[in-house]
């Protein structure tokens, strides 16, 4: 199936579900309180875009969440990739760090909130840190795994061409794992993005994640749904951006 056909089918599916959802809401087949119809979400979106939510403009909520997530993700990449590379390249070092990483990684990040507050307070540091932790752990594990799967023949080819030690690492192993690294980064970004809600439960009064939680406690399901649409759409767009970056930086991905 070609790309444009897939896209059209996907579009039709979204349109179909949206229509069915709207009809279900209009005919009170579904209680609008439980699931507000798309038209109500659009109205809410227009209201919030005009008046803001709880004194903050909608775009500022989004900008704040993006700044937190992207800041944390950038830091996680800067820390996680070198650590993962080191763990993958030096098995001894990997063996030391591995138990800690594997212990922390599956931990629900909500459980860390009390500790993070005690250690780092209730400012931006704690929020960014929570996203950072979940993204970085996933990046470390993925990067280390990528390094350990580099084919032996590729490494031998590099050594035979005179690449040893750091040069082997820099000119053979690193470019070799680049496609895998992008897969890891995409996955980790998804994980970091889902931690946004947990992060914005720490003493926030702005951010899309906070908006969803706060609106939920007042049964503002329309705002909750809008927040979910914004979170999902933004996450999707950022993933597409990463795919674009991968195409540019590692055009051979999946082809060699």
């Amino acid at each position: 199936m070609n790309a444009s056909r897939r896209f059209l089918i996907g579009l039709a599916a979204v349109a179909g579900v949206t229509l069915a959802w709207e009809i279900a809401g209009r005919t009170h087949l579904v209680e609008p309180l439980l699931l507000p119809p798309p038209s109500e979400i659009v109205t809410t979106a227009i209201d919030l875009a005009r008046d803001g939510y709880r004194g903050t403009a909608l775009w500022q909520h989004l900008a704040l969440s993006l700044a937190r997530a992207l800041g944390a993700f950038a830091a996680a990449t800067l820390v996680g990739v070198p650590l993962g590379l080191a763990m993958g390249a030096a098995p001894g070092f990997g063996a030391v760090l591995d138990p800690f990483v594997q212990f922390l990684r599956p931990l629900p990040k909500l459980a860390l909130i009390p500790l993070v507050i005690l250690w780092f307070g209730i400012g931006e540091t704690s929020k960014v840190l929570l996203i950072f932790i979940s993204a970085a752990l996933s990046i470390i594990v993925g990067t280390a795994a990528a390094v350990s799967t580099v084919q032996r023949q590729r490494i031998r080819a590099g050594r035979a061409l005179g690449a040893h030690g750091l040069a082997l690492f820099r000119y053979v192993i690193l470019p070799h794992i680049l496609p895998e690294l992008f897969v890891t980064l995409r996955l980790s970004f998804g994980i970091g993005w889902t931690t946004l809600i947990a992060a914005e439960m720490i003493a926030s009064d702005a951010g899309i994640g906070w908006m969803v939680v706060n609106a939920g406690s007042y049964l503002r399901t329309d705002v909750v749904m809008l927040g979910i649409v914004i979170l999902g759409g933004t996450g999707y767009a950022l993933d597409l951006a990463l795919v674009g970056l991968q195409r540019w930086a590692a055009p051979w991905s999946g082809r060699a």
Partner: protein, 350 residues
């Protein structure tokens, strides 16, 4: 009897299936099947995960006995989740704060108010770090308060009443356990907080500036209401009457033996006895009889328009609309229809 189960149980699944046509159809089918029977199979009572006097009836089966049906107890951490549980039809009764109840009513959540058996007096307090001695000193400071709580409402009210500069006071939404951590780290200067948490802060050198009761002369009431799902009240009015009488019986029991009830609840909640006793004594417990009078809800629908608590509900709604938590257009013109005077009268004839 099984018919009610069918009507009630799809609740959780409703939420999951939303968006799927099949789920929608089964929901409507189940709904039309729900017809009046005298008693439900099971009654689900929501309660706050904090010691409350009426919950003493949970451990000894008082409610099961009085209602003559199986009772399930469903805990919730605060008013927000209680609204979700009611919307998803996972609980039939609950007692929680007036602020979330106003939010739910504005969202047309089908619930009815059954009086206000708990009025906050000294259980919620404004505590500040040493050196902050007057309310005026709060300007330029950071105050933690649990989001969407009665404390958040009371804090805004006290700022308004005392004409403090709201823009100079940084309000930090924090859960109460997190507030303790932030206090210890020095991240906050003050907090409006519930018992037993304030006891810990006072012991840590905190300064008490205000208790909620002091706001009552200015017309600011903070209380917990009993609510029932409207659908349930229509189907099983007798069960509602029995439930109300049982709740009152628990409060009577507390009045005659506060130490004993506190001891039972302390055990049940795994909390220190002292903390429970202090928390419970920080609330006032007007009887349902008393509530049906000019001091609280008024006699009945006709006379209720100017009753203090009806007015207070309107104030709370105005406050929520002001802050943007609810839509101004959603606020009901009157909260009188939200109160089920008929069942209250039936349970407690004058």
């Amino acid at each position: 009897m099984t018919t009610y189960i069918r009507a009630g149980r799809p609740g959780r699944r409703d939420v999951l299936r939303l968006g799927l046509g099949a789920g929608l159809l089964s929901l409507t089918a189940a709904r039309s099947r729900a017809q009046t029977t005298t008693k439900p199979d099971v009654v689900r009572i929501g309660y706050l995960t904090a010691a409350r006097a009426w919950v003493v009836g949970k451990s000894d089966g008082s409610f099961d006995k009085a209602l003559g049906v199986k009772v399930e107890w469903v805990p919730f951490p605060s008013g927000g989740p209680a609204l979700s549980l009611l919307a998803a039809k996972q609980i039939d009764f609950a007692i929680f704060g007036n602020t979330p109840i106003v939010a739910g009513l504005s969202r047309k959540l089908p619930i009815q108010i059954l009086g206000s058996p708990e009025i906050v007096a000294t259980s919620e307090r404004l505590v500040a770090k040493a050196g902050i001695t007057t309310l005026r000193d709060l300007e330029g400071k950071r105050i933690a308060v649990a989001p969407s709580s009665t404390m958040a409402f009371a804090l805004e009210a006290l700022i308004r009443i005392n004409k403090l500069d709201a823009s100079k006071i940084k309000r930090l939404p924090l859960s109460q356990p997190d507030t303790i951590a932030a206090w210890k780290r020095g991240d906050i200067d003050a907090t409006y907080i519930n018992g037993p948490f304030w006891a810990e802060l006072l012991a840590d050198g905190g300064q008490q500036l205000l208790v909620s009761e002091q706001l009552q002369p200015s017309g600011v009431f903070v209380w917990n209401s009993a609510v029932v799902r409207s659908e349930f009240a229509e189907q099983f009015p007798e069960t509602v009457v029995a439930w109300l009488q049982t709740v009152q019986a628990q409060f009577d029991r507390y009045r005659s033996d506060p130490e004993g009830v506190s001891r039972i609840l302390a055990k049940d909640f795994g909390a220190p006895f002292e903390a429970v006793r202090n928390t419970l004594s920080g609330l006032r417990y007007p009887t349902f009889q008393d509530q049906l009078g000019p001091k609280y809800w008024g006699d009945g629908p006709v006379a209720a328009k100017d009753a203090p608590l009806i007015k207070a509900l309107g104030d709370a709604a105005a406050f929520l609309a002001e802050t943007g938590e609810i839509k101004r257009d959603d606020v009901p013109a009157s909260f009188v229809p939200a109160v089920n005077y008929a069942l209250l009268r039936r349970a407690f004839p004058s």
